[in-house]
Structures are given as structure tokens and as C-alpha cells.
């Protein structure tokens, strides 16, 4: 009896037909794969003096991968489904692919000088970074547990190595090992949950799982599965109480890697969470909603309170990114109420985009200033306004945007989140919104503390010679600043992402 099914398994294999592949839809991923190999082999044949070319090349690869994203968006007909709807390229995934590629490009600009001057294996670094970005790009299209798992590991494993990139630095070691151990453990827990999801519904395809789950009539194993899956993903987005790795890893890792982890890797975690929750777990929202509610409330609050106590800027930004994660979680709490589908997606995506701009911007400034001060303390920003007014003004824009002050991008991101949550209109939603409101004020306190140093404190060591900002970081700053301001003043540019009915429409089909 044990192997009763074996006959039909064989039969299934015999029925296998090669899937048709839409090469255009896969083009962004293919360009990245070609790029990875290109950089890897060119790097092998290049002398140490010419390694700088790797950064340029990597940047070009990201831009090249952007082209098919644009053409797909312009053609923009119905969603392109492959492998029986397990890998889908639609409006939702295209927007996210664009965000990841753009963020990756800015990250290359940010890393360039740091790696060049430190002499840290430039070619390998960019190869790993591209692998990780490939995982993210895949994640946006993955609509199947296996695909999500593969994408998640593809983006995580290189990130573990990047966190430990400064091999001889024990802090970087510590960052890498902590990130790695907790990361693998979380993946294992996630997998355990996934195995139950698969086992109780008989499919790994998200929409099939969604169709099999019946709210109010969940099996015990299914509840367990939901808890494990959400717990595993909570680690990736560093939600409290699964956040303990984040501050140490962020502080110890090289700063560009920290920016990478806190923006791109985190966003990918949210994409996985969004796809799974919206497509597969939505019917189980009697379990999902309370769990996400608690996660969101805890994440914002604990992240903020811890950030208040930090004296190191990177560590403060780490906790701030934890708490921003709580805000991004907020809209997901109201899934399954009213017409929340579209507006939830819009709120999360718009937040991810704006968050990418402002957080990358803030990290760029940290990198630019640390090149001179060689310090990560918040006090090292003292007197910045006096000797580098340009950087000071930009830092003001980014911090104020993170704090959510209009008319900057961060405001519209938060506004959208609140709007989506309040749309649900029940008590839980209102309480969460009020917790969020209090948290914006707490957050303002520590962002303003940085600005206080920038504008009002004297330079700590009296050194007031101007800062030289390398052109690549200048470019990164320009992109992020323009994005932050523009999206705040004319949010209509991105709020049109509201036309993403594909993902939610898939459920109904």
C-alpha cells in the first residue's frame, strides 16, 4: 500500500510534454545570466589594474536587462504565463523587476569606489551581486512554491557571502556567519511549512493552493503550515521577533552590502511574502491577518524604539529599516477585506520603490561621508552643513523622506499605507493605523537627531575641508534624490501601478 501511487507517478512522467517557452518574457533573466558569465570570464582574463571595468560592465548588464522589461511593458498585452502558470510575467512582476534592476544599478554605483579602494575581489563581488539580483528578478515572476524557494535561495546565498566580504575583518565575518546561520535555518523552517502546504493541498502552484484552502475549515496542518511559512519569510524581511540578525549583519557588513541587504534583499522577501499571501494564503486569512497584524505592530514599534538608542549611523539605519518593514507589512494585514486586493499591492509596491530611493540615498551619503571621517558614529556628521552643504541638503531630503514629511516620497508611501489600512475600516485596522501614527513620530525623533548633527553641531574634529564625492556616488545621489522628490510631488507617476489586477485576478480564475 505504501507505494500505491508509484504507478501513476511513472504515468505522469510519461505524459510529460516540453513546455513552450516565451523567450521575450524571459529576456531580462536571460540577459542577466549572459551577463553573469560574461563578467565572470572577462574578470578571469583581466589584470588587477583593469578590474575597475567590472563595475561599469555590471552596470551595463543591469541596464541591458532593463531594456526587455521596458519592451514588455510597452507591448503590455495580457500576462504571459509559462509552465502552466507557475512562472508569470505580468504588470506586477514587470514593475518589481524594474525596481530591482534600478536599485541594483544604483548599488553598483555605490559599491564601485569602496571595492576599488579596498581591493576586495571586484569581479567576484559583482558576479555574486548579479546572481542575487537574478534571484530577485525571478522572484517577481515565481508563482509556485518550488520557484519561490529556488529564487529565494538564489538571492540569499550570494548575499551571505557578500556580507562576509571583508575576509580578514572579524566584524564582517561575524556579520556573514550570523546572517548565514539564521538565514539557512529560516529557509529550512519555511520549507517545512511549504511541505505541509503542498501535502495538504496536493499542489505547489500558488493559485491551486489558494483554491484548496477553505477559510473557517482549515486543517490543523494547514494552520501549522501558514505559521511556518510566514515565520520563515518574516526572517527575510527582518520582522520582529525574527530580526535579531539584522542590526549585527548590517553593521558588520561593508556598507554597500548593507544597503543591498536592507533594500534589495528585503524587497525580495516582501515580494515572496506578497505573492504567497495574496495568491495562496488569502483564504486562510483568519490565521494570516492576526499573525501579520502582530508582526507589523511589533516590527514598527521595536524597530523604532531600538533605533532611538543607537549611536552608530549604520546600526540606526538598520533598525530604521526594520521599522520601515513594519510599515510595509501594514497593508498586507487587510487582505481579504473589501476591494483591498489592488490597493494592498499598490501600497506595498509604491512603498518598496520609494523606500529603495530614499534608503539607498541615505546609504550613499553615509558612504560618501565615511570616506572622509572614517567613522560610523552619528556624531561624525557634525558640521556637515558647514563644509558640505550639498550633502547636508541631500541628507535632509532623505531623512525627512524616511520620516514621512511631505512633500517628499516617503510621505506618499506612508500615506498610501494608511489609506489602504483604513479602507478596511474595522477596529483592528484603526488600532494598527494609530500604532503606525505613533510610530511615525518616534521615527521622526531619530531621523531628526541625524539632521541635528548635520545642521547644528560643530564638526567633531574641527576638520572642515570640503568632501570630495566620487562621480559614481554623485550619480547615485542624483538618481535617488530626484526619485525621492519627484515621487513626493507628483505621486501620480507611480500610483498608476494600481492597474495591477493580474495577480489578484488570477485567484478568481
Amino acid at each position: 500500500m505504501i507505494f500505491a501511487g508509484s504507478q501513476s507517478v511513472i504515468a505522469q512522467i510519461n505524459q510529460w510534454v516540453a513546455p513552450t517557452i516565451d523567450w521575450h518574457a524571459l529576456a531580462p533573466e536571460l540577459v542577466l545570466i549572459v551577463g553573469i558569465n560574461l563578467v565572470l570570464f572577462i574578470d578571469l582574463s583581466l589584470g588587477a589594474a583593469k578590474k575597475w571595468a567590472m563595475a561599469t560592465l555590471t552596470g551595463l548588464v543591469f541596464l541591458a536587462a532593463f531594456i526587455p522589461v521596458v519592451t514588455l511593458a510597452v507591448i503590455g498585452d495580457a500576462s504571459r504565463e509559462m509552465f502552466d502558470g507557475r512562472y508569470v510575467v505580468d504588470g506586477y512582476s514587470l514593475i518589481l523587476k524594474a525596481i530591482f534592476l534600478l536599485a541594483a544599478y544604483v548599488l553598483v554605483l555605490m559599491s564601485q569606489n569602496e571595492l576599488e579602494e579596498g581591493g576586495y575581489y571586484q569581479g567576484e563581488f559583482y558576479v555574486l551581486m548579479m546572481c542575487s539580483v537574478l534571484g530577485m528578478v525571478m522572484m517577481t515572476s515565481a508563482r509556485d512554491l518550488i520557484a519561490i524557494f529556488v529564487a529565494l535561495e538564489l538571492l540569499s546565498i550570494p548575499a551571505y557571502m557578500m556580507a562576509a566580504w571583508r575576509k580578514r575583518d572579524s566584524r564582517s565575518n561575524e556579520a556573514g556567519v550570523k546572517y548565514y546561520l539564521l538565514g539557512v535555518f529560516a529557509s529550512a523552517v519555511l520549507l517545512y511549512g511549504m511541505s505541509f502546504l503542498y501535502g495538504t493541498t496536493g499542489s505547489t502552484k500558488l493559485t491551486d493552493i489558494g483554491a484548496s484552502l477553505v477559510d473557517g475549515d482549515l486543517l490543523g496542518l494547514q494552520v501549522l503550515a501558514v505559521v511556518f511559512v510566514l515565520g520563515g519569510l518574516a526572517f527575510k524581511i527582518s520582522a520582529v521577533p525574527f530580526h535579531s540578525w539584522a542590526p549585527d549583519t548590517y553593521e558588520g557588513a561593508p556598507t554597500p552590502v548593507t544597503a543591498f541587504l536592507s533594500v534589495a534583499s528585503k524587497a525580495a522577501g516582501f515580494v515572496a511574502l506578497m505573492s504567497i499571501v495574496m495568491l495562496a494564503l488569502a483564504p486562510a486569512n483568519s490565521v494570516v491577518r492576526p499573525m501579520l497584524w502582530v508582526l507589523a505592530a511589533l516590527t514598527m514599534t521595536v524597530g523604532n524604539v531600538m533605533a532611538l538608542r543607537q549611536t552608530n549611523i549604520v546600526r540606526m539605519l538598520a533598525y530604521s529599516s526594520v521599522s520601515q518593514g513594519g510599515f510595509i507589512l501594514m497593508p498586507l494585514v487587510v487582505i481579504g477585506t473589501g476591494n483591498a486586493g489592488d490597493s494592498v499591492l499598490r501600497a506595498v509596491i509604491v512603498y518598496l520603490l520609494i523606500y529603495a530611493f530614499m534608503n539607498l540615498g541615505a546609504f550613499s551619503i553615509v558612504i560618501a561621508v565615511a570616506r572622509r571621517t572614517r567613522s560610523g558614529e552619528i556624531t561624525s556628521f557634525g558640521g556637515l552643513f558647514g563644509y558640505a552643504p550639498g550633502l547636508a541638503v541631500l541628507m535632509t531630503i532623505f531623512m525627512a523622506s524616511l520620516a514621512g514629511i511631505p512633500p517628499l516620497g516617503g510621505w506618499i508611501a506612508k500615506f498610501n499605507v494608511f489609506k489602504t489600512v483604513l479602507d478596511a475600516g474595522d477596529t483592528a485596522a484603526y488600532v494598527l493605523a494609530l500604532i503606525g501614527a505613533v510610530n511615525t513620530v518616534i521615527a521622526a525623533a531619530y531621523y531628526m537627531r541625524v539632521l541635528r548633527q548635520v545642521w547644528m553641531a560643530p564638526a567633531p574634529d574641527g576638520d572642515v575641508s570640503p568632501i570630495k564625492v566620487p562621480s559614481s556616488i554623485q550619480a547615485a545621489l542624483a538618481i535617488t534624490a530626484v526619485g525621492t522628490v519627484l515621487l513626493g510631488v507628483l505621486p501620480g507617476l507611480v500610483l498608476r501601478f494600481g492597474d495591477i489586477t493580474d495577480l489578484t485576478g488570477a485567484l478568481a480564475r
Binding site: V9, V184, T204
Partner: protein, 99 residues
Amino acid sequence: MLAVNFLILAAVLFSIGVFGVIARRNAVMVLMSVELVLNSVMLNLVAFSQITDSIDGQLFALFVIAIAAAEVGVGLAMVLMVYRNRRSIALDELSEMKG
């Protein structure tokens, strides 16, 4: 049904693995414990594949095996790197940063 026994075995393995991750302070032992959890997952997937009569679980298990191998490769390299720098792989001692 007998397949349930596999699930129970998997659950036991999972519990041992989780306990190991929490209780062990040696990086290699933690790594081994994670492997136990992954094994329980694979056992689960194959058992469910039988129960639900679909091939997806076995495919999934293959993917997990391949990726877990890559993961462990990276993990051991990192443990080695830490050992070189510190002559110790005790996780308690990895606590330079706090707050």
C-alpha cells in the same frame, strides 16, 4: 495509513534539528542541525508525494537536495574563514557588535 509514519519521523527530525540550532553553540553543530531540518523537509515532501499521488513533491525534494548542498558549501567555507581569523568556532564568542 503507513505514510503518516514518515510524517511523524519527519516531525521528530525537525524537532531535534530545531533543538540543535537553539541549544548548540558550535557553528558546525548548528549547521548539522539545520541539515536535520532539511532532511525532515525532504522526507515530508516525498511522503506527501505518495499520499497526494502527485509528482511535484519528489521534484521539490530534488531541488531542496541540490540547493542544500550549495548552502552547506557556503556555510562550511564561512566557518573555515571564522576559524582562520579566530581559532575558534564557538558562536558565543561571535559577539563583537551589540545593541
